[in-house]
Amino acid sequence: MALDEQNLSKLLRLKRFEQPPPGYFDDFLSEFQYRQRKELLRRPAWSILQDRLEAFWFHYFTLTRVSYATASLAVLCVAGALTSNMLRHPGSSVRTSAQILAADAVNVANAATHVPPASMQVASAHRATDTMNTSLSPQIRIPDGLLDASVTPVANGQHPRYILDTRPVSYEPPFSF
């Protein structure tokens, strides 16, 4: 017999008749069910518990997992926005303590060079005294003359002079050596 394509196909089709023992398929289902039960018994308890926990998480915590994902995404977005803002405006970034100290020093210097006129100082001191007098009890009052004695008005654009212990402090060199 020349085993051409056609005869080969016929020969192969005959393999359909190679069948398992009679009654095999009748018992197949009960064997399948028996094996499933056996597998459940054979598996360690932790494995079964793990399966059940996984099923529980899958069915009941799907929403929670979505929430976690959303929250993580939100945190990432905020972090990304902050980072991009810092890159765009490097000066607005968090200042170091050295920078803060330097800035404070500059502010102090500015305040020293721009002192308000003495008349304004006296006016504001009077306002403060009035405020204190109205808020304090009548027995405790600050006398008006005390303020006048402690602040000496300076005219004609001279540098301010400060009073310590009611004695003027001058920029002139002291006479005693």
Partner: protein, 194 residues
Amino acid sequence: MTDEPAPNEDAQLVARTQAGDPAAFDALVVKYSPRLYGLVYNMTSNHEDTNDLLQDVFAKAYRSIGGFRGNSAFYTWVHSIAVNMTINFLKKRGRRLTMSLDDMDSGVQNDKDFLELTSSTNPVREADLSELQIRLNEAMMKLSYDHRAVVTMFDIQGMPHAEIAKILGVSEGTVRSRLFYAHRQLQNYLEEFH
């Protein structure tokens, strides 16, 4: 052998199984076990291995049926599981030849192909035919796993190329190409018999 499965009936059984009705899956086991037996047996050539594998195939299908979304027919899906598991099994087993089921069903005597092969115009004695079948089984075991799967599904089980392509996840052209080379290899092996 072209008893096409009813997709609607399968879909209903799958839905019932997914809803927690184990009896529905039992119905699917009863329906597909003979067909899957043929597929697995013709790839392993061993009854005991086939029985164990088939049990494992249905067990895996039962465990995974919750994730079956119906993008393909259950028939295709369960055949894919069977082919993949059988190929994995064969890779582990290696090239050990185990023939345990050479006896043919008595129905073969009335089969059209059998009658044609043993007719007067095609003078192959029945004894020679039996010997040829044994040689054919040996030759099948010499094929690569992919070629064996294609020959089993197309020549023995009568599946169309398109269905085989879906089960294996390859193109129809690949299926045809594998069939062509597998047939040529089988013819070469069997020529030595003459």
